[in-house]
């Protein structure tokens, strides 16, 4: 069994997490991330792993909420937590571009 992730796999995961990794780190994560995956695989070996799914740390079914409005935040408070705003909108660097 291969004991390392490929360099590309590490870079892909880094991209998904939006983090930059240096050359040395890549090598480190190739090993560490693979080790983590191997550990998770061990859990899968438990008897009945696929039989009874547990998605939450307790066994009760979901308690549903009545459709009644509650308190909301003041827009001024909301904007305080944003680095930039434009009028009442939160502003971020442009995320889209197109070509005709």
């Amino acid at each position: 069994m291969n004991n390392k992730l490929t360099k590309e796999e590490v870079l892909h995961v880094a991209h998904l997490a939006r983090i930059k990794v240096g050359e040395e780190e890549i090598e480190k994560y190739q090993v560490e991330l693979k080790q983590l995956l191997n550990d998770v695989d061990k859990i899968k070996e438990v008897d009945g792993y696929d039989e009874e799914r547990m998605i939450a740390p307790w066994e009760r079914d979901a308690v549903l909420r009545d459709d009644e409005p509650g308190e909301m935040l003041n827009p001024k408070e909301v904007l305080k937590n944003a680095p930039r705003h434009s009028g009442n909108y939160i502003a971020v660097p442009i995320v889209i571009s197109e070509e005709a």
Partner: protein
């Protein structure tokens, strides 16, 4: 351009008509000041937890029922992970593994033939915040964040823009009439994406797919699909290939344009949402929801036609929900439905449009409306009379009789009086009488006009015409 077989699948996002959001109790509203309808859950603040809205499940069950879907009895939610400013939690809560509805269909009629548009699945998810792109900035409004959505995904089973249009019209009608959503494409409460590919013949594998995103109207869905088919066909004709892509319909260019989304990565790493345990749906709950579904559009049209309303008018009535709901309250009554339909779609619609009112804003009770219908039906009132008294009919509480009397309308329904008037007109216009007898049909119209003039509009035209013909043929 060579002939190709298009394959089209449609994904629709539809906002549910709840009071509050799906996972928080802030208000689900549209058209309010930006970022004024939010709380800590919608903004994804650390430590907050989602609480699932009961009404969302009920409306989703209802949608599944009207779309003929099977309903899953045990389901959960999943996290769809991605980094993008429209979602500060960095994941959207959706149903990837256990969509509430599956294997459904919507029936449409294409060129007189019925076709079932198959629905692969229908799932519940939260809406993201609304982003608007301005200059070098993207502006975010979190009022939409956490608004409950259902996403309805068809199989790739449509073959033209026209079919896609018919499907969307039918879908909108069903979800609107069942009160699941207000389905306003112009406000974004119903949004459609189309997946389009083409191939030479059915035995070929599917062609490369282009996804056209967020098209703002049903007619533009049709147009954008047609344009996209054309574009792909041209490329294939030139021997070119192209990668799968996301496009957008540009209303100024009337064409699709390539959309470049920075920071892509369709690696969503779905996993079950641990903050919401399993949701169970019981037969009792489904039955309870079933009882809240009003008569649906197809059944309404059928019923109206069976009551003597023309097919055209039946369609028009269903296109105008408040009129259709009004008429539905009278279905057990014995009235002339053809006249009722004509009145609702004619003078009454004109009045409502002019006054910018709905039926509920008028004084036209069921009883007074039926009285009006009967009086028009038995020729006591002419259509001209109706126009004269309609303002009063819609605003006062008085009976139709009283209003008619006050308006000074005294229609002559006495036959001998009509005959007298007609004889007078015939004596004054002997040439026209001779012309009519010589087979000139136009002459009778002239005579009729003279009769109505003589009566100052107090005659019922149909009655007068019958008597006039009788007299002329003597």
């Amino acid at each position: 351009m060579s002939n190709y077989l298009p394959t089209i699948g449609i994904e629709v996002h539809c906002e549910l008509k709840t009071k509050t959001k799906i996972f928080s109790n802030s208000i689900n509203g549209y058209g309010q000041m930006a970022n004024s309808l939010t709380n800590v859950v919608d903004l994804g603040y650390p430590g907050t937890l989602p609480t699932l809205n009961k009404e969302v499940i009920n409306l989703a069950i209802k949608a599944a029922l009207v779309l003929n879907c099977k309903i899953r009895r045990q389901m959960h939610f999943d996290r769809k992970n991605y980094f993008y400013p429209d979602n500060p939690k960095n994941y959207q809560i959706t149903q990837a593994e256990t969509p509430i509805g599956y294997d459904g269909y919507v029936e449409i009629e294409v060129n007189g033939k019925k076709k079932k548009i198959e629905i692969e699945e229908m799932h519940i998810e939260e809406d993201t915040c609304k982003s608007t792109h301005r200059g070098d900035k993207t502006l975010l409004d979190f009022n939409r964040a956490g608004v409950p959505l259902i996403e309805i995904v068809t199989k790739p089973c449509m073959e033209s823009g026209e079919e896609a249009k018919l499907y969307l019209e039918k879908l909108r009608e069903l979800l609107f009439y069942s009160d699941v959503s207000d389905c306003k494409m112009e406000e974004g409460s119903m949004r459609a994406d189309a997946n389009v590919s083409i191939r030479k013949q059915e035995s070929d594998p599917f062609g490369t797919k282009a996804e056209i995103k967020n098209i703002g109207s049903i007619s533009n869905v049709k147009l954008s699909i047609e344009k996209e088919i054309e574009r792909q066909a041209q490329l294939y004709d030139e021997g070119k290939t192209f990668p799968p892509q996301t496009r957008r319909f540009d209303t100024k260019l009337n064409d699709t344009v390539l959309m470049r989304v920075k920071e892509t990565g369709n690696d969503y790493r779905y996993f079950p949402e641990p903050d919401i345990p399993f949701v169970y749906i019981t037969d009792e709950q489904i039955d309870k929801v079933k009882k809240t579904i009003p008569m649906l559009p197809d059944a309404r049209r059928e019923k109206y036609i069976s009551l003597g309303i023309s097919e055209v008018n039946a369609k028009k009535l269903v296109g105008h929900r408040s009129l259709s709901d009004y008429l539905n309250e009278l279905l057990e009554e014995k009235i002339d439905f053809k006249t009722a339909g004509n009145l609702l779609l004619g003078d009454i619609s004109a009045y409502l449009n002019k006054e910018e009112k709905e039926m509920k804003d008028t004084t036209l009770t069921k009883e007074r409306f039926m009285d009006l219908v009967n009086k028009v039906s038995d020729n006591t009132l002419t259509s001209k009379n109706v126009k004269e008294i309609l303002d009063k009919v819609m605003t006062s509480e008085k009976s139709i009789d009283e209003i008619t009397k006050e308006a000074g309308i005294q229609n002559i329904t006495d036959n001998s009086a009509i005959i007298e008037m007609i004889k007078k007109v015939m004596e004054a216009n002997p040439e026209s009488v001779t012309d009519y007898k010589a087979g000139k049909d136009r002459a009778i119209k002239y005579l009729m006009g003279q009769v109505m003039k003589e009566s100052k509009g107090t005659l019922n035209p149909k009655m007068a015409m019958d008597v006039l013909k009788e007299e002329l043929n003597k």
